[in-house]
Symmetry: C2
Amino acid sequence: MALAAATLQSLMDIVGDSRVRVDEQSLATWGVDWTKMYTPAPSAIVFPSSIEQVQAVVRLANDAGFAIVPSGGRTGLSAGAVAANGEVVVSFDYLNKITEFIAEDRAVRIQAGVVTEQLQNFAEENGLYYPVDFASAGSSQLGGNIGTNAGGIKVIKYGMTRNWVLGLKVVTGKGDILELNKDMIKNATGYDLRHLFIGAEGTLGLVVEATMKLDRAPRNLQVMVLGTPDFPSVMHVLREFQARLDLTAFEFFSELSVQLVTAHSGIARPFESATPFYALLEFEALSDAMSDEAMAIFEQCVEQGWVVDGVLGQSETQAKNLWRLREDISETIAPYTPYKNDISVMIARVPAFIADIDAIVGAQYPDFRVVWFGHIGDGNLHLNILKPDAMEKADFFAKCKAVNVQVFETVQKYNGSVSAEHGVGMTKKAYLTYTRSAVEVEYLRAIKQVFDPNGVMNPGKIFDPA
Amino acid sequence: MALAAATLQSLMDIVGDSRVRVDEQSLATWGVDWTKMYTPAPSAIVFPSSIEQVQAVVRLANDAGFAIVPSGGRTGLSAGAVAANGEVVVSFDYLNKITEFIAEDRAVRIQAGVVTEQLQNFAEENGLYYPVDFASAGSSQLGGNIGTNAGGIKVIKYGMTRNWVLGLKVVTGKGDILELNKDMIKNATGYDLRHLFIGAEGTLGLVVEATMKLDRAPRNLQVMVLGTPDFPSVMHVLREFQARLDLTAFEFFSELSVQLVTAHSGIARPFESATPFYALLEFEALSDAMSDEAMAIFEQCVEQGWVVDGVLGQSETQAKNLWRLREDISETIAPYTPYKNDISVMIARVPAFIADIDAIVGAQYPDFRVVWFGHIGDGNLHLNILKPDAMEKADFFAKCKAVNVQVFETVQKYNGSVSAEHGVGMTKKAYLTYTRSAVEVEYLRAIKQVFDPNGVMNPGKIFDPA
């Protein structure tokens, strides 16, 4: 779908000729995220360099009648940043500056295109810490993190991206600039629109600037990996450690993932014993007593039969390698064309939920290999079904989609979420009502109407227009 | 304003005859909160005992055309729960049960009428901690805390009420029941309406049930009070301690408040020296090294001239008495008919902001005594102007209101908030645009329209209808 020549010219007038791209290569690059199920087909990519330019583009979209897809680091896994229908992609690649550091508030003002790792490094250089971290931190942009309320591997202690946003500057779908919350910790002056834009996947407007809070740097982090004889034991281990230590992470993964990761990366197994499941936990050892406490809990878990074997990282390198057992899973299984689900339930419901899902997948497709891993301390599970070598991709995806309905019925049965931290985008849109009631979705639509009455902002993401 | 007899009968049919009150005493009691500037004039008080009854009352309000004022512990300070115009007050006094405890999630399901202290005690009985705490915790109800996003004295570590709400069951102004977020830590399925209801002061609907997250119990809390020679020194003290310890509180108050509190309560001064300002700080001493660290920072602050004298609570009793220097201020100054403002700015802006406000009040009313105190670690300041004995109440309030405009112009100049943690209600309504832009307020109005198209939910609070 091509833009009218006059519209294209107007875009160039706003952002400058060199900041509008319509070549095939650019359209293919900026028209997709990490989901590869859709064919990118944007009509243009624009690269604004100020909030005024963003506002002008949004106003033009309303006047000229084109749709906008916001584009950050394009690392999304739900097609929230895919432009498959002639949309204009607004990229934040040139709005990538850290503009101000306010030491007293431990706050940093950034443009939406700042990369997560760039913010993490900036924090570190200033003796502080930006705690939201995940595998794609090297490419994902803060605007996208905010739009999806990104989570990751430290949520058990630090919470989601939402917790670290002090203020936002947004351009609404109507083209208004709003300064949301003005960077204060306490501000009880009516509805907090900041929290409405966080997680809205660009459907209400565009996040252009943000003020992020930083934390003190963690001290003396210790990493343990423990092997458990079954899944319920993982839960016991979580409860024992959490009762007595402040965990900064609690992840789990299965033996199959250890086999795949160690074969792929060449790193060593954590210990000789192979066990069905593994828990990786991390904590700050603020005193020797805390390290001793961790060892005591470990021994107690062994006595109870919840832990078969375990290891405490003895050096920074060893700790890093233990983390890689968890962090390299996604990359390792990528060649197996995994069918991914990112689901969550309350922690108490995890064991029964996993057992149900395993039974469903096992009954339907006994030849499929399933890799479970996830942020068990938050009730967030990544279910990855690996494609058998001999099976055609299309056939495999069709089979997975068929089982998906049963998976999401199980999510609904356990009052869970069809998307824990990846957003809805297009891939989860059909399943939204498994988590949100139909009545609730009508309220979502009405809110969209308030901020974006002409439907120019990322249409067809989260839900379809009424 | 009286309700039609048929409407009153309908209310009784919904909640039961004994759960509708129209006697003068009840109307006067349930028709106000702690603000005493308005004359209560509700037409009836109803006490539902189930979410279905709440829904039926809201639907009746839409059909019969009466307005609803939600009523919790009535400890609000902005007249958010005042019924001055013939509204029907919906009291949550009989929806006061803790219904479920989910240990694995450290989560507790409550009805909206549960009192803050009741939840705190329940948490303690289960070896856990509900960290939102403030002077009115003995009467305030969770529904009200959620409606105003209550803050208090532990925000520096634990954040506002918002951080502890895993899920909400609400009845919208249209009469729909919504289950918001379903109690999960991670749930990226579209706009998070939970955060819209938190802080909405009952203008979008009624919070009927909530699932609150609990934290581990704090360990070995240590309290220090330090005397500083001037206000900027308070900021230095904050920065030094915060850089090296995880503070659970950082409060400040002035010498005048120490004089008033010690005279009123008979507790001892913290130490002999009188200094213009005092900082109260609290931290968990998780090891002896941390206590030593605190002493080292204290000594360093003395060397730098930021601290003149100080004391570390040596027993639980002494710690409690140190806390009373801060916590008894409100009660102590109540007889002086204080004119209260609850304002906030970013922490970095606090010193200049305080100096500006002091200059304004000093220039306009040199005979007024000003008591400053507040949660300086969050940029939240309570400005209390005491009525001179000889002055008439009406005259005093008129003078304060006149100076208010200058105070709020200063808030605006520093990009601050006219209500940090008390909400807008009616008392701050006229000043809302000093913090929220006129354009933003139009979005707030439009959101209200989505949830409450007939304007039955707490009308005239936060903003007036368009």
